[in-house]
Every structure is written in C-alpha cells, then in structure tokens.
Amino acid sequence: MKTQLSRRAFLTTLAGGTMVAASGCSKVIDRIAQPDLPKELWLPSGANRHPIAHLLNRAAYGPRPGQLEKVQQMGREKWIEQQLDYQDVDDDALDWRMRRYDTLKWNAEDLMSLSGSDDFGGGDKDLVAYELAQMTLVRAVFSERQLYEVMVGFWTDHFSIYQFKNDVLFFKTVDDREVIRPHTLGKFRDLLKASAHSPAMLHYLDNTENEKSHPNENYAREIMELHTLGVDGGYTEKDIQEVARCLTGWGKNDDGEFEYHSAWHDDGEKTVLGHVIPAGGGKDDGDKVLEILVNHPSTSKFVCTKLVRRFIADDPPQNIIDACVSTWQSTDGDSRAVLRTLLNHPDFDTAPAKLKRPFELMVSLLRATNANYDGNRDLIDLLDRMGHRPFAWATPDGYPDKAVGWANNMLPRINLALDLINDELSGVSMDVWDIAERMDAERNAEKLLHNFGRLVFARDLTVTESASLWNFATDGSGQKPNLNDDKGRDQMLQTLGLLLASPAFQWR
C-alpha cells in the first residue's frame, strides 16, 4: 500500500505535463491523490471524545486518521485561521480528482446546448446534474479546505436551488461556481447580491416571469423569508408586493446570463420596509432592496441562528447567537469573522450532539476509514435513496437541519457502514489491515477492536459498546478471533463494521 513516489512529487510531475490524458490515468490519480497515513496513528483515550475530534466533526466533515494529531500539534486556533484562509491551503490532489468532470467549467450557453432527455432523467441533462453532485461529494471527502466545504454546504442550503425544476440544473452548475463558492467565506452582502443576479435563482424562483403586467412574487417572498429577514423578520404582504415590483425585469437572456429587461420593469414609486424608493429607478430599485435587506437587523439574527444551528445544536443557544450577531454587526456581515467567533466560543466544546445528515454520514465514514472513492454516480444514487442527494431538495428552504427530519428509515444508514467494510460500496475501497498495522493491532483482535474504537470515536469504547462488540466478535464464546486465519480476520472485519454502524457514529 505504500506509494513509491511521494504524492507531492507525483503531482508535480503530472502538473509538468508528462502525463496529458488525465482520464486515462484516473485510477492512478485516485491512488496517488489519496492522503498518506502516518506510520503510527495516535489513539486518544478517556471517557470523553477528544475536543479536537469534536471540532473536526463540526468545522469539517469528520476527522481522517492522523488528522487529529496534526491539528493538536498546530493548535486549534491556528487550524481555524488556516482553514479560514482557505485559498492558501494546498488542494492539488483534489484538483486532479476534479478533472474527470467535464461540465463543471462550462458556461450556461454551452450547458444549455446539451439536450436529449425529459424531466425524468437520462441523457446529457443527467450528466450535468450528476457531475455537480459528484464533485460536491468528492470535495467533501478529499478537500483539505474542509471548513470551506462545510460552509459551501451551508450556503447551498441557505440559497437552496433545486436542480430538477425545469432547466435549472444548467444554471445551478454556474451558480455553484460563480455565486456560492467565491463568496462562501466573504461578506454576506456580496453573496446575496450575486445570488440575486444568478440566473439559477431567478429561474428557480420564477423571477424570470416577474413583469409589470403579471407580477410574480415568488422570489420576492423567499428572499425575505428564507434568504434574509426570516419568516418573523418584520415584513408584511405589502412589502412582498413592493419588493416584487422592484425586481420586475430581473431575469436572464437566451445565453443563460443575467439580464435586466427594462420594458418589464414597474417604474413607479415603491415603499419597502418603510424606505421610499422613488419612481424611475430602473434596475437600481432591486439593488436598493438588497441593501435594505442586508442592513436590516433581522437578517443578521436570522442567518446567525441558522449558523449556530448548523455548527452547535438543533436548538441554538441564544448566547452564541448573540455573540455571532455582534461580530456580524461590527464586521459588516463578514462570514470569516462570524465563524471565528462561533468556533472559538467558550461553549463550543460542550455543544450537544447533532445527528449527521446522510451526506455527512457518508462523507465522515469515508474519511474515518481513509477510504478511496472514484467519484462515481452510484454513491449519489445512494444519497438520493437516503433522501439527501446534493441540490435535490425541491423547495427553497433547503434540507432540514434538525434531527427529527432525518431520524427515520434507519436501515440504509446502518447498511452503509456494513457495505463499506464488506467492500460492497461501488467504487469505494479501503484497507482495514493497513490501518490495523499503523495502530499496532494487526495481530491482536481485542486490541484491534479497542484501538479502532479510539481511532474512530477519539475516546475509549463505552462499556456497552465494548461488551456488545466483543460478544459478537467472540460469538458469545469468549474465544478470541485468531487474526492469522481468514475466519478470524473476517469476524473482526464484521465487528468493525458494526462499530461503524453503531449510534456513536451517527452523531457528529
């Protein structure tokens, strides 16, 4: 399993152009791009999960073997700072994995030229929808810019766009690349403005149909209810109508780019949330609305509440929300600054458990076991069956972020871990015995169980875990499985599968 060439050296060689056809060597790339494990893995002990593991379960998609000790050495604050300066984090290996997806860099016009399927899938449209979802999963699993990916996920839910409404998927690929990702760790104002000029959003929420003679209030309603003020943020039905009037004519052209149609615009005077917008403003009316919404106090409260829910608890504690709002207000809605406050808050380490949503469960499982994933569609289909395919929540409120929305249909969540350990996940490979060797546990079954538990949970196994799993491993006989024969090794493999399928792994 050890690579001959160092990963860095290999990637440099690739970048130098000695290997041109990336697609021809994608298996090689997957292998070389896979993070190296340290020779000896550090295994936290004690009754409580190591606080760095907690950090990596919230500010990242779960720890990889070896990551804990790195972050510990660096210090948590420094790691957070490094993650916030995400552009300086080397992600070459990931970039190579991304090369297999053709449509990610295309503009809307080229994407729209793809055709050949109806609303129910198949053909080129499928390709576009899948590639964006596959890319999202691959990045979550492999990117070194973990906090950035977690926040991309947060804003993707906040400005949720459903790929499968009419032709939205063509524009969503552009929206992800040009709206969400560039502004993920920037100012909220810039993100909101980019989103309001995004053909994907305008099309998805019907603002492309919003004209003076037939106003369509859909986007006007959602931009206040879901993107800025929140449902109790202090706006009225009249405000929705007035915002809709301000946004008449904001749409897209035939090339799938933003275009303002002045002939559709209602140029009369409007009043939005008490602010008078004089007649004759043209496109500026909409820009003024965005400014009013960004500066409204409800917006910082609403968005910070959601952030605290995402990172801390289903019922977000008011003191942490207040701290975030205060930072938001003093930094003009700077996501980096707000995250710094949130992640360094004294109550962060004692936050209650959050249930992993299926995407987080899958990603954290692949990370925890240093599994390789070839970026195929099958895992996207599996996420779909678990109800959490990226960009597939039909309504604009985004995927639920509370346990009650996800704590049913448990069998697929359990089978996911059992499939992984039994090499039954398509395009996914992992090597338990390599990990065992690095934990000095490849010859002792009992040590393997306990060390694997410490690796994955960053604490000792509980009495229940240890008793239940060891009872299974020994088939109730107390007879230790022999790791020198296939039967014993398989029994331990199944035992570790159960450990990964256990409730502790379902929580972040």
């Binding site: 009650v404 229940t464 799993l469 299974f472 199944q494 159960l498 929580w507």
Partner: protein
C-alpha cells in the same frame, strides 16, 4: 379483462358482513404458511389502514374521468377525447352519471364506482400553481401550498406523529420504494422498503441475527430520537423476517401485475392480513407525464390506466374481507392542460382528480363542483381547482383514522367538508 368472480356487495350488505367477519377473524382455523404470529397483533390498528397511491408525472384526469357532458372537452381534444358513452366511437367512456364517464381502460373499477365502493373527486388539487413536477409533488406530499416554508416533514409523517402511542407497531408506516416518500418524512419509525424481501441487514448474512442483536444493544443508548427509530427498525426487521411473501396467495383469485404498484399493493395486503399493525402504506405508480403519444386506447396512458385499475381491483378483491378498515386514496401532483398539444399528448396543467376506495364512501360516483372547460373558466388553459386536496385528506383522516390533529397535519388550513367519505 373485468373479473366478475368476486361478488360485489352493496355497502349495507358489506358492512353487515364485515361486522360478522371481525368476530370470526380472531379464531382463524388454518394458519397460512406465509403468515407470522405477531406478539402485538392483538392490539390492532385503531383506525383504517391508509394506502396512498401517488400517480407520478401529472395524470390526465380529463381522460380518466371524462366530462363527456362538456362540449368544450371535445373542442379542446379533437384527437385524444374519449367518446360519449352512447356514441358510435370505438373508444367510449363508461357512464358514471349523466355528465362524467370512465375511461374504458379503467373498466375493472367501474363496478366499484357504481356500487359505492369508490368515489372520485374531480377538479381537485393543490392551490399552488407550480407546473414543475417535483415542486408540485413535494408541496403536496408535505401538505403545504408553499406559504409555510420550513415544514420539512410530510403530511403523513405529521399525522403519524400526532397519533403515535406506546406499543405501536414498528411497521406503522411504509413507503414501497427506494427512498422514503416525502409525505412520510418527520415520523421516526417510517421505513422505505423496496420489497419485504429486500428489507434486511447487509454484511455477513450467516450472522444476521447476532449482528442485529449487537446493534440493537448499542442503540438502546443511542440517544433520542435515534434510539426510538433504530428500535423500530430492528423490530421491523424481526417481523419482516417472519413473513414469507413468496408464499402469499391473494384471496378471490385476485391478480396483481408485476409493476411497482402491483407489488406494493400485494405486499400491503399481506401485511394487513398478517396483522402487522400497518397504518400507512405509500405506493407510486407510473410515469404519467404524457407530453407525446398519449393515445386513447393504444398510447402511453392506456397501459398505465389498465395497470392502475387492474391493481386497484385486485386489491379490492383480495382485501374484500378487510376493506371495512382500509382506505385507499389515489392522487397526482396536477392534472394536464385542457387543450391537447401538437404532439398527440397533453402538457402540464393544474386541476386533477382524487380517488377514494372504501365501503364508507358516498354513493355518488363523481363529486365535482365542475368549473367548466369554457375558456372563460380556465386558469391559464387549465382546469380550475374547486376542491383543495387537503379538504379531501382532512375528511379522510377525521372520519377514518383513530385520532388526528389537523392543525399539525395541515397547518394553516381550514378544511371544508367534501362529503366523500363517511365515519360509518
């Protein structure tokens, strides 16, 4: 095609028979090979078992329940219209009353509609005007018209939550599909099953029982709501293991076909008869998105309608002894445009139809406040909605399930009476 081997009772006769049967049901002499003996079966389901069939893709209600009394129907559909019942047309509707007729491919359910075992609510649907399939389906399954965003759960999920109690069956709610239907979201014990046979733990199949026991022990301390959900899953696994659906033989020679619908209904029947405590089953049917080649008796729609009505009839015949405590409801995300298109099909529309099968329905085959198909009465070319789908579902829950809280199931909606289904 029509299967008359099963005698159809009148509703009154049926109810008398059902009362008599429930007394003998407990002392079944022969225990069929597929049927498990269930610990909690004695509790029983308090209200009806609800079977919800969703016709995916926007079913063309106008060619299913044909408004043959409306001239504008024939003007709008020169190629696709189904003939009047007394016309010389080779494809003609089966009269339901003096205005509506049934598509001839749906003949197997004609008798049910005429004898008070089924009813149709026409011009029904969601007030939301989305013509996107998925958005419309999603809103309908979540039981909202879009104004109450943030409701991540489905209407059935909330119904089940509002009625859940200690000792409920782990199989209260099933979606017969790969993924959990949106309507069931929010209820912790809901499961998605492709089939009874597919519902099992993966991993080493020789050790399934030991694996389940190990997991179950760990999930006891799993933290709410996970511990509850997992507990239901392990109980369901245990229960499902005992049901040998391959050996299940439907009663009265009822024949289900091999579609998702047929398989889902057949397994639903097996679980109900097994006394598994099933309260809600969701089944999908079709791809009703007939933009092209919709046809009359030979197109895409014809095959779907044949399968739909054969399976509905099979379920009815198979379940005839149980129907007093089962309600089937059929719906779709929207109907289709009144005017046929240039491709021999129909485009996305608005108003559609809902179907209810139960001996407790009204004796009226079609309930409709018909808005008319005259262009003055259309809404952007579509049939208007005169009955909110939530009114139908509210009535169904109120009259046929033990207890429900409509404020939770359909928040912000004040239900109106439809007169489709009765308490007794």
């Amino acid at each position: 095609m029509s299967d008359n081997r099963t005698h159809l009772f009148t509703r009154r006769q049926w109810l008398q028979a059902a009362t008599a049967l429930s007394a003998v049901g407990a002392s079944r002499v022969l225990w069929p090979a597929w049927l498990p003996r269930l610990a909690f079966a004695s509790e029983g389901v308090k209200g009806d078992t609800l079977v919800c069939i969703f016709l995916r893709g926007g079913a063309d209600a106008l060619n299913m329940i044909v408004p043959f009394g409306d001239d504008n129907y024939y003007k709008a559909r020169p190629l696709l219209a189904i003939g009047q019942p007394d016309s010389s047309d080779g494809v003609k509707a089966l009269a339901l009353d003096d205005f509506f007729g049934l598509n001839p491919d749906m003949r197997p359910i004609h008798e049910l509609l005429m004898n008070g075992h089924m009813t149709v609510i026409h011009a029904a649907g969601t007030p939301n005007v989305s013509r996107s399939h998925f958005e419309a389906m999603d809103l309908m399954e979540r039981g909202t018209n879009g104004a109450e965003a943030g409701i991540g759960s489905g209407w059935l999920g909330r119904h089940l939550m509002s009625t859940s109690a200690e000792g409920d069956s782990p199989l209260r709610a099933i979606g017969w599909s790969d993924k959990l239907p949106t309507s069931l979201r929010g209820y912790v014990s809901a499961n998605a099953l492709r089939s009874i046979a597919d519902f099992h733990l993966h991993g080493d199949t020789r050790q399934t029982d030991q694996m389940a026991a190990t997991l179950s022990a760990m999930y006891q301390d799993g933290g709410a709501p996970l511990s509850l959900s997992a507990d239901a899953t392990f109980q369901a696994l245990e229960l499902v293991k005992q049901i040998d659906v391959d050996k299940y033989r439907p009663a009265n020679s009822a024949r289900y076909d091999d579609s998702d619908l047929g398989r889902g209904l057949k397994q639903t029947a097996a679980l109900i008869k097994a006394g598994a405590g099933l309260e809600v089953a969701c089944v999908d049917h079709g791809n009703y998105d007939t933009h092209v080649a919709q046809g009359r008796s030979d197109g895409l729609l014809s095959g779907l309608l044949t399968s739909l009505s054969q399976n509905l009839r099979a379920f009815h015949d198979d379940m005839v002894d149980y129907m007093g405590k089962v309600t089937v409801v059929v719906m779709s995300e929207f109907g289709r445009r009144v005017q046929e298109n240039g491709g021999g099909g129909t485009d996305h529309g608005h108003g559609g139809a809902m179907y209810i099968m139960s001996p407790h329905v009204t004796q009226t085959p079609v309930i409709a406040q018909w808005p008319g198909l005259n262009s003055d009465f259309l809404e952007n070319g579509d049939l208007q909605i005169t009955t909110d789908y939530r009114d139908v579902l509210s009535e169904l829950l109120t009259n046929r399930t033990a207890r429900t809280d409509l404020n939770i199931v359909f928040p912000g909606h004040s239900p109106k009476s439809v007169g489709a289904i009765l308490k007794d």
